[in-house]
């Protein structure tokens, strides 16, 4: 069932890419312009998607649907690391990279049921190591917050 869904997604993606590629400027006198490769990729995606959905439908026919469609929503926990990365992107320049990393690690550790004290120690040590190795040894300009680190 998932295969059918992904097949359809790829067909849609192929169509979208094809539509966008048609907008690319054409250089007169050249057989192959900027749109050539994206168009090929679009065709590849659409054909591959069609093959995938076709075999999924055939499989469904053979086995019969079990009624549930088998596409459960992804578990909510998976959104937590993503949300924290977004939070880092927006907040690191306000409160600093190191406090933000500390926060990310604390949240993730506690969510997984690590007790508070070990979480705090692990986060503090890891933040210090990452900040020092990247910020000082590798000279990456990590954003510095109002606290000075």
């Amino acid at each position: 069932m998932k295969d059918l869904l992904f097949g359809l997604i790829f067909i849609a993606l192929g169509l979208g890419v094809w539509l966008m590629a048609r907008e690319f400027p054409v250089v007169p006198g050249m057989q192959y312009g900027a749109d050539f490769f994206p168009t090929l990729i679009a065709i590849g995606m659409a054909v591959g998607g069609a093959l995938l959905s076709f075999s999924a439908v055939r499989q469904l026919r053979a086995e019969g649907t079990d009624g549930t469609f088998g596409i459960g929503l992804p578990p909510l926990g998976v959104l937590l690391p993503c949300a924290l990365v977004v939070a880092y992107i927006y907040l690191s320049e306000v409160i600093g990279a190191a406090p933000m990393m500390l926060l990310i690690m604390l949240t993730l550790l506690i969510q997984r049921g690590v007790r508070l004290m070990p979480s705090l120690v692990i986060s503090l040590v890891a933040t210090a190591v990452i900040s020092f190795s990247f910020g000082h040894l590798l000279k990456v300009p990590l954003p510095i917050g109002p606290l000075g680190f």
Binding site: F6, F10, Y32, A34, I41, G48, V78, V85, A97, I130
Partner: protein, 511 residues
């Protein structure tokens, strides 16, 4: 003879040897951290080498690259996250061995193969560099195009499971490669008016997203109470056995694979544009296709490890052939190296062996020393890798996420790369839950630009005549090779139908 002695003396002094030792430790550190590639290690090293004398600077780069390529196998084996792109080809096998408690054995074998591969690559560099480079000089955009096609073809073969899914995954990678300004017309493609995307999508954040971020998300997709039970199974299985104990047995059995992987790896590395990662992919595909037990690949089989593990290290040395003799980079690392060579007054080109023979011999010596120091430092790294084993993943993953963020940011000091890392992580999570292989997407991204640029260049040269791709002797040879690879599944099926007994011996499959 005098130049040879001078060259050796340039390396065997306290200062240079100390630099090599420090570079080896640095290489382990960067290579073993997922998301930090050997190329990034070299790029980070360049500012430090400004202050060194030429031989020491080059030796530092060589050692770091060799070490990082091997060290990339360590997180690959313990955590299923390749530390460098060059380890991605066989990460499924090494991770399966790690889960079975055979991580030390796998890494010991990998280390030995890396050293043999590195030494073989060096021998190729020293012995047949001029003639091989001369051959590669005959290559034009037509041949590069076929080479890229060959690489992409093998991407679909390596993927375990459905070929359609492998193909679609490849398309995703190729699509990502088209982002940015078009090389021929200068038109922006799929940039959505984001200035940072004009230059194209950086490979490293994608890699971090696809392999590292995805692993973090996978852990957090399991409900919390389930991880507690799973923690026992999720954590790295207890490792036993010695590092080198079983190496002679494996080498005795697969010595042909070592030779094949090392020589093919050095050859692929010597081809411009193809580096350690492509060498590993192609050698793994060749090994799988040539093996008696292809079905065991990807499930913890050592044979592919032997081939690809030797290949990626020999490619590191092989990549220096065109870089030194013609100034054409063999891979991204040597692209940086060429810049360093110019800065140090060691202009690459055919005359380098006449003008700067002592330094050239010094460079060769540095290669031998760097590959030999791999053995003790690599051994220490494997023994201390149990840090990974005693740390449960629920503790490791938050730290890895922070490394991902900072690592993605560090390449261009740009938050756009962090976004790319995030989006690729989510995409990898979504397609992997539907059993799509991720590896072809990575290869599509790496080779997409090479493929398109060379196609466009060829078509401009040939005025749109597609037949030009098969008119040159070398290009038609490569084209036939591509055809052979494409027909391989059909031929293999026919072969199996005709000789059903040649299918496999079950004893090896179990191993």
């Amino acid at each position: 003879m005098n130049a040879l002695l001078d060259g050796i003396l340039l390396v065997f002094n306290f200062q240079t040897l100390l630099v090599i030792l420090l570079a080896a430790l640095f290489g382990v550190f960067v290579g073993a951290i997922p998301g930090l590639s050997a190329t990034m290690a070299v790029a980070l090293l360049v500012p430090i080498t400004f202050a060194m004398d030429p031989t020491a600077a080059i030796a530092a780069i060589i050692t770091t690259a060799a070490m990082a390529i091997f060290a990339g196998d360590i997180p690959g084996t313990y955590l299923n996250i390749p530390g460098t792109p060059a380890s991605a080809a066989y990460v499924a096998d090494s991770a399966a061995l790690g889960r079975a408690g055979r991580a030390r054995e796998a890494l010991g074998l990998n280390l030995t193969c890396s050293v043999i591969g590195g030494l073989t690559g060096t021998l190729v560099l020293v012995m047949i560099a001029p003639s091989l480079a001369e051959f590669a000089l005959n290559f034009s955009s037509y041949e590069y195009f076929w080479l890229a096609v060959l690489g992409l073809g093998s991407a679909v073969f390596i993927s375990t499971g459905s070929a359609v899914k492998g193909f679609l995954s490849l398309m995703v990678g190729l699509l990502l490669a088209t982002v940015g300004l078009d090389m021929v017309t200068g038109a922006p493609r799929f940039t959505f008016d984001v200035p940072d995307l004009m230059g194209g999508i950086n490979f490293i954040p994608v890699m971090i997203g696809f392999f590292a971020m995805y692993e973090v998300m996978k852990l957090y997709s399991i409900p919390r109470d389930k991880t507690r039970e799973q923690d026992v199974a999720q954590t790295i299985a207890p490792q036993h056995g010695s590092v080198f104990g079983l190496v002679p047995t494996h080498l005795k059995r697969y010595w042909k694979n070592v030779i094949r992987g090392s020589s093919l790896g050095a050859f692929i590395g010597a081809l411009p544009g193809a580096g350690a990662d492509i060498a590993a992919w192609i050698c793994y595909a060749v090994s799988k296709k040539r093996s008696k037990t292809p079905e065991a690949y990807g499930k913890g089989h050592v044979e592919g490890l032997v081939d690809a593990g030797s290949a990626n290290n020999s490619a590191v040395a092989g990549a220096w052939v065109p870089a030194l003799v013609f100034g054409i980079p063999g891979d991204s690392i040597t692209a940086i190296v060429i810049g360093v060579l110019y800065m140090k007054g060691m202009n690459p080109g055919p005359t380098i062996f006449m003008d700067n023979s002592a330094m050239a011999y010094g460079l060769f010596t540095a290669f031998f020393v760097a590959n030999l120091i791999l053995l003790p430092i690599g051994y220490l790294a494997i023994r201390s890798a149990h840090i990974f084993a005693v740390t449960p993943t629920r503790v490791l993953m938050p730290i890895i996420l922070c490394f991902c963020i900072v690592g993605a940011f560090a390449i261009n000091n740009s938050l756009t790369d962090v976004w790319i890392m995030l989006v690729c992580g989510i995409a990898a999570y979504l397609i992997a839950t539907a059993d799509f292989p991720i590896a072809p997407a990575i290869l599509g991204l790496v080779l997409g630009n090479i493929l398109e640029t060379n196609f466009m260049t060829s078509m401009i040269k040939a005025d749109g005549n597609l037949l030009a791709f098969v008119e040159r002797p070398i290009s038609i040879g490569l084209a036939l090779l591509v055809l052979l690879v494409a027909l391989f599944p059909v031929l293999a099926k026919y072969w199996r139908m005709r000789y059903p007994r040649a299918l496999s011996s079950p004893k090896e499959a179990i191993e």
